[in-house]
Symmetry: C2
Subunit: 354 residues, 2 copies
């Protein structure tokens, strides 16, 4: 198409520097220089930054002014090396492409950054090997805290994380025994809500589409249990592997039809799957919800924009990040008596596909 060897140049706008101090240049200033200019010892400058209340008001103001004019910022490596602790909070997501995880990480960062912490994102890719490697690398980085968008299943990693001696937040589930702190919701309850909603709509024969490990399995188990309790029958279960896009939902739905679907309603344990299923159904002339009801979980961006809107069970991902940030700040500030579990509410969004 375009000739990649001779692209037209883009006339990118160049925004001139505002008058005043130019860009910080050369070597960053060290604490010693700030101390000299302010006529104090380096340790006093350090105290102004770490324990301002321990420094005389006038001295502090003078030092702060020098810090301001020099643009001094302490070297994070030296700080981490000396104190054995850094201001980095590492957030691990199992899939960097997930919108929900992105929202949670974003609000975590929004909560922590004003307090001087830096949030960095790592990816575990639903792989245990990767998870082991990343947790090993934490031993060197010594972050201030770690958050996972998920829970840790490998005992080995649970132990390793505990040994780090830093706050650890697990999310996206509600296990009996979190490693340390928890901001999550019950996946079992989500599955149960699904069965209840479909029963209420009069469905008796149900199908399930979802991952057969991890959180998908937790939702499936809750779905199964509630179905049994309500006297419903689960006539098909389509297990899927890693979910990379809408295409997986289309494939799973096709598999359901290939097996001669006998269900009148389908619970998809993930909205990407549900949306894909909805698109596939429509392309086959299957009317949703008239011919078949579809219920999703997780609420991604597309779910409420397609027609009919996808009815889904969801929660506020940003609220998870926010609550995680607040828990962490409390713990890092040494607040005693923190309730280390926070439950996020599940919500049923009615949009017409059931």
């Amino acid at each position: 198409m375009s000739d990649p060897t001779k692209p037209t140049y883009d006339d990118v706008v160049r925004i001139p520097a505002p008058p005043g101090r130019g860009p910080a240049t050369g070597r960053p200033p060290r604490i010693e220089e700030v101390a000299e200019r302010a006529g104090v010892a380096p340790i006093t400058v350090s105290r102004v930054l770490r324990h301002p209340e321990k420094v005389n008001r006038e001295t502090r103001d003078r030092i702060l002014e020098v810090i301001e004019t020099t643009g001094y910022a302490s070297n994070p490596h030296a700080r981490a090396l000396r104190s054995g602790r850094s201001n980095v909070v590492v957030a691990f997501v199992s899939n960097i492409l997930s919108q929900q995880f992105g929202l949670a990480v974003r609000s975590l960062a929004a909560a922590l950054e004003p307090e001087g912490y830096e949030v960095l994102v790592g990816q575990t890719s639903y792989s245990y090997a990767k998870e082991v490697a990343m947790i090993q690398s934490l031993r060197g980085i010594r972050p201030a805290a770690v958050m996972f968008t998920g829970v840790i299943e490998l005992q080995e990693n649970r132990a390793a994380l505990q040994e780090l001696g830093i706050p650890v937040i697990e999310t996206w589930a509600f296990p009996r025994d979190p490693i340390d702190m928890l901001v999550g919701f019950s996946n079992a309850d989500a599955g149960a809500m699904a069965a209840e909603r479909l029963a209420q709509a009069g469905h008796r024969r149900l199908a399930f589409i979802g991952r057969s490990s991890g959180r998908g399995a937790l939702r499936r188990d809750g779905f199964r249990a509630a179905a049994t309790r309500l006297g419903l029958e689960i006539v098909h279960e389509i297990g899927v592997g890693e979910i990379t896009g809408l295409v997986d939902g289309r494939a799973a739905f096709t598999a359901l039809l290939d097996r001669g679907n006998r269900a009148s309603a389908v619970f998809c344990a993930n909205d990407l799957l549900a949306t894909g299923a909805l698109i596939e159904a429509r392309s086959r002339g299957i009317s949703v919800p008239r011919d078949l009801a579809l219920l999703g979980f997780g609420d991604n961006d597309v779910a409420d924009q397609i027609t009919p809107g996808l009815t889904t069970i969801t929660f506020n991902a940003a609220a998870i990040g926010r609550a995680a940030g607040e828990l962490l700040l409390a713990r890092l500030a040494g607040t005693p008596q923190i309730e280390p579990r926070h439950a996020v509410e599940l919500v049923l969004l009615e949009r017409g596909s059931v």
Copy 2:
């Protein structure tokens, strides 16, 4: 809905530790311990890790064995402090929720991690203030390199980045004068391709929907120039601010209709906008492409799953990350004579909306 105060516990699977070495526990081993066990000085251990060719083969093998059994990994803070350089490569994305940026970062990480670099993701949120602050913080972190999913517009930041003295990669555009290295495509060409494709389909009166700053503006300018050249008329331009979801595309399309649309084809400079527009058109009974043609840019996940598929101009985001990784590795390895610009090909994906 569910009672958030009493969620059901999730019975998370616990995967037992495999037999063999337990989790790394306690303080990480220091180089001194490794040296003692191997009967050498610490510096020799360091050399085995940094410049293995400078160490006698037998000595090296003996040290490597001790490293293996102890699980030693050097402390990144100490290393960065002493050597003034870390193994961290920082990738800044303007929006952590973007799928395309995610793909690029993912393949950047895949290219760099085998070589011992760690990729950390930061977010600039399309905000200059944020960008200034993050670049300032780089002075302390001293990363091995930086990548941006975008180009830097503020002269102040361009200068600051140059002063860092580390490799800097800009992407997602093709400016005349990149700060350092560049892996991008021409947004002007993308706009031109759009006009050409619509002209070829016989359209004479066009509309544009997109951001009126940044890369959106570059595509618009290319679109305008080509339209003029081809004797087409751009009868509407709908500028949008920050794009957060499909809803922005719906709103922009509605705005277009409110202005009494006279165009027979619309170029949306972003697929989220285009998909939103397509959904809005469908919900209003406007047939695409019969009543109105829609052409997008960027190819997100949804674009090829909806009906009709969105015809779009795109590129391989993963290839950008990969090429950036290779350029960086070459530079970091000190390879002389690197061509610091890499152009990625634009591709027209025909899917029925034009």
